[in-house]
């Protein structure tokens, strides 16, 4: 389906809107996100409880739809605790720093093609940049500052460690995420989201072309948005709420929650935009020519968006939280090398396909990459295998030792055949005597 639709906006179409259109767009996006949060919270709770055979919120309003509104109001009316020791300015600033970039990050997500908005032809997208994706990543990175500052300004060990932990986690997964996009750019040849969507129109959805990238992205998505199974930043069980320990209640806490929700939204939005064809209609519908014109695409976008979000919720419902070292080693030791190998492979293939000139060399290089990657992987695999076996063996040995000699390992176990257990000198006290 390489036919190009005139409605597809490109970078050239941006930066032309009059200010009022811009403002309208901004307000629309803002409202969309705010309502989205309200709805999303409710939706998530409802879905999970359904999955867990519960009712979930069903008191406030029909189906408990107003539940999150109620929560919001409650938070507004709770006491605003302001611990004595905190670093005042940063403590207050942190939630803001967390939430604002989260809003901005979403602004590059395209909702649809060129539409007629109050008589103005404009792409249905807040903004697009030559470096749109980079911008999104940057915003994600900035909100990390919020997390760290929140932890740091709280002056409490839990908060500090929590902040550092979540920062470490987020940056680690940011690398893998950033790498997972490279393959896309290799195909799309641009960083602007609208043009990437366009490219998917021409070359097909990248989710099919680049499954590994997609898988990696999805994993990183959880890490970035700190959702279960990677929600260690506020792993209550381990560090009492992490960096937000001192933001016990009130609107500051609400802002932090909001920021995290927005990250989840952004993650889904980006997934849809970069991999799932953006606002493009899925296959059977795309047969109909009108599918990708006018306001219809918004619908397709919403469907994909909600589905992605539901998937995230579904995962939350079904997976436990991983251990921190597992989290990190997954990010550093698996995702990054696999990513790099994959990128090289894609590049080699791409080189063979599109570039003029000598192809054999390209093919050879591609082969070299594949072989090399496999070789390294196998080597590591065997090494790991040996390590595992060795570890297992020694554990068993230890166990053996313990079983046949109880006092080994420094844990004195009283021998079970001591006389008094058998009550040798046990003196029967006849009952009922006085």
């Amino acid at each position: 389906m390489t036919h190009v639709l005139a409605a597809d906006p490109t970078l050239a179409d941006f930066g032309k809107d009059p200010l009022w259109i811009t403002i309208i767009k901004a307000v629309m996006l803002f409202l969309f996100l705010m309502l989205g949060i309200l709805f999303g919270v409710w939706y998530e709770r409802k879905l999970i409880s359904r999955m867990q055979h519960r009712y979930g919120p069903n008191r406030a309003g029909k189906f408990g739809l107003l539940q999150s509104v109620a929560d919001g109001i409650k938070m507004g009316l709770k006491e605003d605790i302001f611990p004595r020791t905190v670093d005042k300015v940063l403590y207050l600033l942190a939630p803001v720093i967390m939430v604002v970039p989260a809003f901005l990050a979403f602004s590059i997500v395209p909702f649809g093609p060129m539409v007629n908005l109050f008589g103005v032809q404009t792409p249905l997208q807040m903004v697009d940049l030559p470096v749109a994706v980079l911008f999104m990543l940057a915003m994600g990175a900035i909100s990390v500052y919020g997390v760290v500052l929140a932890g740091w300004s709280s002056r409490s060990p839990y908060a500090l460690l929590g902040g550092l932990r979540s920062a470490a986690q987020v940056v680690s997964y940011e690398i893998a995420m950033g790498l997972s996009f490279v393959a896309i750019f290799l195909f799309a040849g641009t960083l602007s989201t609208s043009e990437i969507v366009k490219a998917q129109g021409e070359q097909g959805w990248f989710v099919f072309l680049l499954i590994p990238s997609f898988v990696i992205y999805v994993i990183c998505m959880f890490g970035e948005a700190a959702r279960i199974p990677f929600d260690l930043p506020e792993g209550e069980g381990e560090l009492v709420g992490g960096f937000q320990t001192e933001y016990s209640s009130s609107l500051k806490f609400a802002l932090i929650m909001m920021g995290e929700y927005l990250h989840t939204f952004t993650a889904s939005g980006i997934a849809v935009t970069l991999f799932l064809g953006g606002w493009r209609a899925p296959w059977p519908i795309s047969m109909w020519d009108g599918a990708n014109t006018g306001w219809w695409p918004v619908l397709w976008f919403f469907i994909k968006f909600v589905l992605t979000f539901s998937f995230i919720v579904w995962v939350r419902a079904s997976l436990p939280r991983v251990r921190y070292d597992q989290l990190m080693s997954l990010g550093w030791k698996v995702l990054i090398p696999v990513n790099l190998a994959w990128i090289l492979l894609v590049a080699a293939a791409r080189n063979v396909v599109v570039n003029e000139g000598n192809k054999t060399v390209g093919i050879v290089i591609g082969a070299v990459i594949v072989v090399g990657a496999l070789a390294i992987w196998m080597r590591f695999d065997t090494v790991n295998q040996r390590r595992k076996e060795a570890r297992k063996a020694e554990v068993e040995a230890e166990f053996e030792q313990l079983s046949d000699e109880p006092t080994a390992g420094g844990f004195p176990v009283p021998p079970l055949d001591l006389p008094h257990y058998h009550g040798v000198q046990h003196k029967e006290i006849p009952s009922g005597t006085n």
Binding site: M126, R155, Y158, I175, A254, D325, W332, R350, N351
Partner: protein, 131 residues
């Protein structure tokens, strides 16, 4: 430049909202003073006094930060490479910018291999392990 105007607008909007809600929080809620409540929360025990500018933390985090810098920079180099790797075609389908092609592939191969060398070193030196 005016590509960035919408972002500015949105930033103003979101920022206004955030600052507003931070600002009104103290007034909307009640105030019931309680010394323990205003202490740093440490599961109820007396809070350990924290030095100004946060306490000391494991070096591990610093190492992670350094690694992050290195690899993030690598990404910085991957993006332009990726973008200008393939020849750029316009809507009519004819090339308006030839790709870097084989050369770029080889160079990037060298680059990534070099990075992997450092990566292997870090790995072997337990730089990536969290115990």
């Amino acid at each position: 430049m005016d590509l960035y105007v919408p972002i500015l607008v949105l930033a103003v909007l979101a920022g206004g909202f955030a600052i507003f809600s931070v600002a009104i929080a103290p007034f909307t809620g009640p105030k019931r003073w309680n010394r323990a409540k205003l202490d740093a929360y440490e599961c109820g025990i007396e809070p350990t006094p924290q030095p100004v500018g946060g306490g000391r933390f494991p070096l591990k985090y610093m190492i992670t930060a350094m690694l992050f810098i290195v690899f993030d920079i690598e990404i910085i180099f991957l993006y332009p490479w990726a973008v200008s790797f393939a020849p750029l075609k316009n809507d009519a389908g004819d090339t308006i910018a030839s790709g870097l092609g084989l050369f770029a592939l080889v160079e990037m191969l060298l680059f990534i291999v070099t990075v992997l060398v450092a990566y292997a070193y870090v790995w072997r030196r337990k730089g990536l392990d969290w115990d």
